[in-house]
């Protein structure tokens, strides 16, 4: 029997605010245990939360970026359960009236529905050792948004694409740094399979706290085959919560859904209702950067690049900014993106670097490309030069000097070579006499080639003209 996979995601994204959601403690990652806590984020008796306005702003940015309706009136709820790292024994979250609803995310030609985006506080962290459970509350009160998709995804690949796109959008929006290894982006997967006529289906299983895209993909694939196997055996999956075992590459049951807690949700009385003014939303909308999709469309129109190029040039905000900055001077988009992809991007990948880690200045990169465009150096030479720049951070002219790739600017030497070239290309001289001025370029190129790009093209140009006029 053929089955369709049905996947829905719940994504927790940590917002990039400087301070926590209900107090002014820092949200910095990796600080000493329990050093970023105050009575409020520890939920000590008598403390009250006050909502950080930036959190609302960031959540609305996410909402707009994911095409949601933004609620004008919203409020916070208490979600109650006991756990040592949940210091108030309730999490302040949203249940009844989330801030954003009914959005979507576009991947390829498919729309994946976004059911809701709500804001909430993070809990602390429990560290298990053999002797004890240790509690670190630095993260308690860090603002999160939870993005809940509709069950519109139908494969592990599609899910990966959706997450990639989502990550890109959140980074473009500048509201989350999406570092999965630091827990700033976490994902729960709800999955089941159903037959095409929808008569047979497995029960939904939730896989909690996946912290890499790879794990998401593997876990979905594992579950797909597990569900298929069970259905084939005339059994069904249990409605349950599972976790991904990274070592064994399997999912493991955590708890049954039937045992799911009654969270006794209840409107948070310590916080006022959230009223969002239309003008506030407009202000945010106006301040939004161009999003990946918009940027892709613009790149297609403006730079006329092939799709492969577009995808890489818009892969990240930094990459696209870099590209556009270079193209502003070197007005050959295709050539620029070609060079970026085949040289710069490749080095970044090999060295596991980000664009902002590059040692040399962007101006030097521009200079390098100009040398190529103006025919001063060959592409091959540029590649070599680039690799040196990449490692040393020097500018291309200095490297050329140091490596002895000095431009030939001694006129006598150039004249000698020009004469050689002209002798080899008598037809060109004829053509020139007949008014074909274009041959100059060809001749300059030939001289450059002969000098392995070391002659100064400007000088070469002048000398050729001079000689031709005299002939």
């Amino acid at each position: 029997m053929e089955y369709i996979t049905v996947v829905g995601l719940e994504i927790h994204a940590e917002l990039k605010t400087k301070s926590k959601i209900f107090c002014s403690c820092s949200t910095g990652f990796g600080e000493e245990e329990n050093s970023q806590c105050c009575p409020i984020c520890l939920g000590l008796p008598g403390t009250l939360p006050s909502l950080n306005k930036k959190v609302i702003e960031y959540a609305i940015r996410a909402g707009i970026g994911l095409n949601c309706e933004i609620a004008r009136k919203s409020f916070m709820d208490r979600k109650n359960y006991f756990y040592p790292d949940l210091n108030k024994a309730y999490q302040i979250s949203q249940y009844d009236k989330p801030l954003c609803e009914n959005g979507h995310i576009q991947i390829n030609d498919k729309r994946i529905g976004i059911k809701r985006i709500h804001i909430e506080e993070d809990a602390g962290k429990t560290i298990y050792t053999n002797e004890a459970r240790l509690l670190n509350y630095n993260r308690s009160g860090v603002p999160l948004i939870e993005i809940v998709t509709e069950p519109d995804l139908s494969s592990s690949i599609e899910t990966s694409e959706c997450l990639e796109e989502l990550k890109e959008i959140l980074i473009y929006l500048d509201i989350c740094d999406c570092k999965m290894e630091e827990g700033s982006l976490r994902c729960d997967v709800n999955i089941n399979i159903e037959s095409k006529d929808k008569t047979i289906r497995s029960n939904i299983v939730e896989i909690k706290n996946l912290n890499s895209f790879k794990a998401v993909k593997k876990a979905i694939e594992y579950e797909e085959s597990r569900h298929r196997f069970l259905l084939r055996e005339n059994k069904n999956t249990i409605r349950e919560t599972r976790r991904w075992d990274e070592n064994k590459k399997i999912t493991v049951a955590m708890r049954k859904k039937e045992e799911a807690q009654d969270y006794r949700y209840f409107p948070e009385p310590d916080l006022l209702k959230i009223f969002v003014e239309e003008s506030f939303i407009e202000e945010i909308r106006k301040g939004l950067p161009e999003l990946p999709n918009e940027k892709r469309n613009r790149f297609i129109l403006q730079y006329e690049l092939p799709e492969y190029h577009i995808n890489i040039m818009t892969k990240s905000k930094e990459m696209s900014n870099y590209f556009e900055e270079v193209v502003r001077t070197v007005k050959n988009p295709k050539m620029v993106s070609n060079f970026i992809i085949s040289v710069l991007y490749k080095r970044l990948k090999d060295d596991r670097m980000d664009i902002e880690d590059l040692k040399y200045k962007i101006d030097d990169f521009v200079k390098l490309l100009e040398l190529v465009v103006n025919g001063y150096i060959s592409n091959n030479m540029a590649k070599k030069l680039y690799n040196i720049m990449h490692e040393t951070g020097e500018n291309p002219e200095i490297i050329m000097k140091e490596k002895g790739i000095i431009q030939l600017s001694n006129e006598k030497d150039i004249v000698k070579i020009v004469k050689e070239v002209l002798e080899e290309n008598l037809k060109s001289i004829k053509d020139y006499k007949n008014g074909k001025k274009k041959v100059i370029g060809f001749l300059v190129g030939a001289v450059m080639k002969k000098t392995k790009g070391s002659a100064n093209p400007q000088t070469v140009n002048e000398i050729i003209l001079d000689i031709l006029r005299k002939k």
Binding site: L44, P45, S50, L51, N87, K88, L135, R264
Partner: protein, 482 residues
């Protein structure tokens, strides 16, 4: 009159004129606590450092510096208001040795005052007699066999017996006004949002307020001046700028429209109390007030609404007390659930557990609609009642309590009767309006309180009317036989 019964204004003048040092004053209070509090049981903690603070005030006066009208005045705090360096027990074994790392906003606002001690209360503010404290039973200063009311019974008893010049209590369903009525002092529950709750250990967050307990109306206004005002740390506090509540006190009631709500004079109320209140109303009429009979039709649902909301909120507010980070911890357990259950079984008292269970029950999925949500809907109706009535009248006058102070142990076995001692005060909390209780006379040598309620943020007229009642009633002769 004994120094410890003088009003704040007199004491301020004596300090200013150097007829009295703050140290002497504080000593007098500490001595009196030392002498009589064993019988009364008003205090849980005495702040010995208060003497050195008093000396600092004296140095200031000695330097000829200006002191504010409330500065250097010894006061007490209900022990559910957080204080740095001084225990905040909430009358509970759960927080027996808990010292808050921060001061409540009201405490910060009273920094120039001398905190002499923290007063007894029903555990976490739950109760109407101060018999539910894990530590001691406070007694009524007018008759030691009677309760002082609750849950701010310790504060009201301390003020009534000259163990401080004023106290701060908290009022969730009448916990300031009912003990004020029982002890013959003035107790004000301000409009919700006028006084910051930051640092008040929460019972029912949407109902809780902090307010002053004093021996006279002027003192009450003075204290309100200091503790009221917007606080960024409490987002439910309201920014309305500073007001001087002592200014309009003498305005009189002439022309004020005073409503008498029929529903507050029902059969369950002691007839002698009703008569006393009617007398007050007639006197006010003579002073020019316009008396109007009004209706608050949803009053009778207040009881149901109150217990739904208060217990629901309390069940969540108290769930943080698990003994893991602070508070009571019995270190014998096999697993996490057992740790929770041991700590909460042994750390909480009966009344608190009862409320938590009631509240948990009304919030579980299958009951939410039936209880909590319905409560919230009725709440809206009660608020509407008040909004409507305050279009017609400026103030409402009612009894504060349905009975005179009852005997210790008398109602502890009958929870419904105990709950009902708040029946006349809870609707002000449900709706958030200001309400004050002021003694208007005595029956069987026990004080009787009249309750004055006003529209939102209309503390000024409430206090003006209270001031008139006080003027008509005359001075109270305090019980000095303690």
């Amino acid at each position: 009159m004994e120094l410890y019964y003088k009003n704040i204004y007199e004491i301020h003048n004596m300090l200013r004129r150097k007829e009295l040092s703050c140290e002497e004053l504080t000593c007098t209070i500490l001595n009196r606590i030392n002498n009589i509090d064993e019988k009364l049981g008003a205090y849980l903690t005495i702040v010995k450092e208060s003497l050195s603070e008093a000396k600092a005030v004296d140095r200031k006066i000695g330097n000829g510096d200006y002191i504010e009208p409330l500065e250097g005045i010894p006061y007490s705090l209900k022990d559910n208001i957080s204080t740095r360096k001084i225990k905040t027990t909430c009358g509970s074994k759960m927080l027996e040795n808990y010292i808050s790392p921060y001061d409540a906003t009201v405490v910060e606002r009273l920094k120039k005052n001398i905190l002499v001690g923290k007063t007894n209360l029903d555990e976490f503010g739950m109760g109407s007699s101060t018999e539910n404290s894990a530590y001691k039973i406070t007694k009524n200063p007018w008759d030691l066999t009677k309760v002082p009311g609750g849950s701010s019974g310790g504060s009201a008893a301390a003020v009534a017996s000259g163990l401080c010049f004023f106290s701060l209590g908290s009022d969730t369903g009448g916990s300031i006004r009912q003990p004020a009525a029982f002890c013959g002092v003035v107790g004000l529950k301000p409009t919700y949002g006028l006084v910051s709750r930051f640092g008040l250990v929460a019972y029912g967050s949407s109902l809780d307020t902090i307010g002053p307990i004093t021996r006279n109306v002027y003192d009450c206004a003075l204290v309100l001046n200091h503790i009221s005002g917007y606080d960024t740390k409490d987002s439910t506090s309201v920014n309305r700028g500073k007001k001087d509540y002592t200014k309009g006190l003498k305005n009189g009631v002439c022309g004020l429209k005073i409503g008498i709500p029929k529903e507050y004079f029902h059969d369950g109320i002691d007839n002698r109390i009703k008569e006393k209140i009617i007398e007050v109303v007639k006197e006010l009429e003579k002073k020019g007030a316009i008396i109007i009979d009004v209706n608050l039709p949803h009053t009778k649902y207040g009881f149901f609404t109150y217990y739904n909301i208060a217990t629901a909120e309390c069940s969540l507010n108290l769930s943080r007390f698990d003994g893991i980070r602070y508070g009571y911890c019995k270190n014998e357990y096999d697993n996490l659930n057992e740790l929770y259950s041991h700590n909460r079984t042994l750390g909480f008292g009966k009344q608190v557990k009862k409320n938590i269970i009631l509240g948990t029950n009304s919030l579980i999925k299958t009951n939410y609609e039936k209880y909590y949500e319905k409560g919230a809907k009725v709440r809206t109706l009660i608020i509407k009642d008040f909004k409507e009535v305050f279009k017609k009248v400026d103030l409402l006058i009612t009894p504060t309590t349905p009975t005179l102070p009852f005997g210790i142990g008398e109602k502890i076995k009958d929870p419904i009767k105990m709950y009902k001692s708040d029946i006349l005060t809870i609707n002000a909390n449900i709706s958030g309006i200001p309400a004050l209780s002021i003694p208007c006379g005595f029956i069987e040598n026990m004080p009787v309180g009249v309750q004055i309620m006003g529209g939102y943020f209309n503390e000024e007229e409430v206090l003006t009317c209270a001031y008139e009642v006080e003027r008509m009633r005359g001075e109270i002769t305090w019980n000095t036989s303690l």
